[in-house]
């Protein structure tokens, strides 16, 4: 029997080998802002555990390297990821000197590369398994539950990022809910305004180019500038329009961030509505009219359902984009996870940056997976023929 190598496996095994044997597994710092000292896998983990992790990594890398059945590859990637997740917590408690509350342990490049290598393997397996939309959401839920369980169990409490969290637990959730409110609220507003606007642009051809051009130009204004530019008009509104201030409209804070995100969101929603409606087969539209549907019946019964997957794609773009852009709201006092990112950059405390960045990425990632699944579910049954 000849041994056959998996091409992607070669890449994975190379990354894993470098990460496990050469790169540092964890960083030890005497306090939160001094430069760190590197600790290898064997140094970072108790006597018996270090070699165990190395063994798991080597077996996992070998399974990736050779042409092996998908189930085995799936098992290898999941086992390796779980082991890494648990052991980084053990490294945290192991490296923290007893009773020392200043020392900071954070995962180092070796750990991140190992995570990357086995996530790559897992992603490859999941892609090849060609999971149904429901199954993909299921995998996401299981992963979220596993991470939640690890967080609740306190397994990671000795890690630096969670120490940053422990100091800010209250504001973390407050900023988090602000972040989600900003991203989802501006999306909702953009859908409420953008859908009718898109329908209007579809029906009135003269309007189309103008509206889309204006929205295009808004997109070219850098986000931090747009946030800043809205401060003045909203401040004026708050001061001069009776009741506006009571509604929470202020020059600084959430209001300009909300308006800016809303403006950025309009283009994808409007453009995709127009494209989706334009993509409705002419014959179906003609038949609908020929059979005596009123304009309204045609819009809701034929055009809208057929354009729906394309419109949803626009909404997906907006949601993922908004979750990312909402971090910038912190610059103008709008809150959100960006608060931690910019505080961290200011204090050169990278763990604080992570405390803001990791949940943002996780949110965007989850939003993308869920919406992709929804789009696929709506699109499969409504497949539009290209005739």
């Amino acid at each position: 029997m000849t041994i056959r190598f998996d091409k992607l496996g070669v890449v994975i095994a190379a990354i894993a080998a470098y990460a496990a044997l050469v790169a540092p597994f964890a960083t030890f710092r005497a306090n939160r802002i001094v430069p760190g000292e590197a600790r290898s896998v064997l140094e970072a983990l108790p006597t018996a555990v270090g070699p165990l992790l190395l063994a798991i990594v080597i077996v996992g890398a070998l399974i990736a390297l050779l042409k092996t059945p998908l189930v085995l590859r799936l098992a290898a990637s999941v086992v390796a990821l779980i082991a890494l997740a648990i052991l980084i917590g053990i490294a945290g408690s192991f490296l923290t000197p007893a009773g020392n509350t200043f020392a900071r342990i954070s995962p180092a490049s070796g750990f991140w590369l190992l995570i990357f290598a086995f996530t790559l393997l897992l992603a490859d397996v999941l892609t090849r398994l060609n999971l149904s939309p429901w199954a993909r959401v299921g995998v996401l839920v299981v992963a979220a539950l596993a991470i939640g369980l690890l967080l609740i169990s306190g397994q990671w409490n000795s890690l630096s990022i969670l120490k940053e969290y422990a100091n800010r637990a209250d504001s973390f959730w407050a900023e988090g809910s602000k972040h989600v409110t900003l991203a989802l609220g501006s999306l909702a507003a953009a859908v409420i305004v953008g859908l009718p606007l898109g329908i209007l642009c579809h029906r009135v051809e003269k309007l189309r180019a103008g509206v889309l051009n204006v929205l295009n130009i808004i997109q070219t204004i850098p986000s931090i500038a747009l946030f800043g530019l809205l401060i003045a008009p909203l401040g004026w509104v708050a001061a001069h329009v009776p009741g506006a201030a009571a509604l929470g409209i202020r020059g600084i804070g959430t209001a300009p961030a909300f308006v800016a995100l809303f403006l950025y969101s309009l283009l994808p929603v409007v453009a995709n509505t127009v494209v989706g409606l334009a993509g409705v087969p002419r014959a179906a539209n003609d038949a609908a009219r020929g059979m005596g549907m009123t304009d309204r019946q045609r819009l809701f019964g034929v055009e809208f359902p057929l354009a729906f997957p394309v419109i949803l794609t626009g909404i997906r773009i907006v949601l993922v984009q908004n979750i990312g852009l909402a971090t910038i709201a912190a610059l103008i006092g709008g809150g959100g996870f960006g608060v931690f990112v910019f505080q961290g950059v200011g204090q050169t405390a990278m763990d604080l940056v992570l405390l803001g960045a990791v949940p943002t990425v996780a949110l965007a990632f989850a939003a993308a997976i869920i919406l992709d699944a929804v789009i696929e579910m709506t699109a499969t049954k409504r497949r539009v023929e290209t005739a």
């Binding site: 747009l226 003045a232 103008i332």
Partner: protein, 249 residues
């Protein structure tokens, strides 16, 4: 009568932009009403011209690097030898887009320090995605009969790539580069939060000192650059598409 109007507007924008970055003093009366308590109306902590130049240089370097890597990767995964990577590369591109630029920027700082480098990394990573995605679309949706004819004419794999596949997908790849540049122009401003020398510096200075004139001039220069570059690249794209006998959408 309408045909020359866009060209005229474009020319006007170019003239205004050049005038503003070279002689910002001329525009002081326009921006003065936006300031309070006698604050300066024109950015005074550096030359706008230099910042514009540095801004463009950062975007250019990142885009060139991203184009080379993205197109090379797309070519790799569309060859028979790299076909195994195609589905995975698609998922990775999808996942990659969920990383907010601010996060990429902030996370690059510990690895490379403050300044231009983290900005370049963030722009590079962020610029990769649209170019890769478009290159992939271009290379995988070539008309089957043309590819068949190229094989039938006895072209080698390399000849097919350089003489048929790349020229035919050039308009779509250019479209990706255009998207990437526009995103990068805006994203580069965020680089100034980690001390990169870009036009973001002007905007952030404005935000910190509550000087709306700064925010406006920084934002408008970037927006004008983006509109002009977007337009220019669109024109090149239409020209190549016509050369390739494709309809312009």
């Amino acid at each position: 009568m309408k045909a020359w109007l866009p060209s005229l507007l474009r020319l006007l924008l170019v003239v205004l932009l050049v005038a503003f970055v070279t002689n910002p003093g001329w525009f002081q009366p326009l921006l003065k009403p936006l300031t309070e308590n006698g604050a300066p109306a024109i950015y005074n902590q550096g030359s706008l011209l230099t910042l514009t130049f540095l801004h463009l240089r950062t975007v250019l370097i990142a885009t060139v690097a991203a184009t080379i890597v993205a197109v090379a990767l797309a070519i790799l995964v569309t060859r028979p030898a790299g076909a195994e990577f195609l589905p995975l590369s698609r998922s990775l591109v999808n996942i990659g887009q969920t990383f907010p630029p601010v996060a990429v920027l902030a996370l690059a700082v510990p690895a490379v320090g403050f300044g231009e480098k983290p900005t370049l990394i963030a722009l590079f990573l962020y610029g990769l995605l649209p170019i890769f995605e478009n290159a992939l679309t271009g290379l995988t949706t070539l008309p089957a009969n043309v590819m068949e004819a190229a094989r039938g004419a006895g072209m080698t794999g390399w000849q097919r790539l350089t003489k048929v596949e790349l020229p035919l997908s050039a308009p779509i790849i250019l479209g990706g580069i255009r998207l990437s540049v526009v995103i990068s122009l805006a994203t580069a401003t965020i680089g100034s939060t980690v001390a990169a020398k870009t036009l973001g510096e002007v905007i952030i200075a404005g935000l910190l000192s509550n000087n709306l004139a700064f925010v406006l001039q920084g934002g408008l220069i970037v927006a004008a650059l983006a509109v002009l570059i977007y337009d220019g690249l669109s024109a090149i794209e239409r020209y190549t598409a016509r050369r390739m006998g494709q309809e312009t959408a």
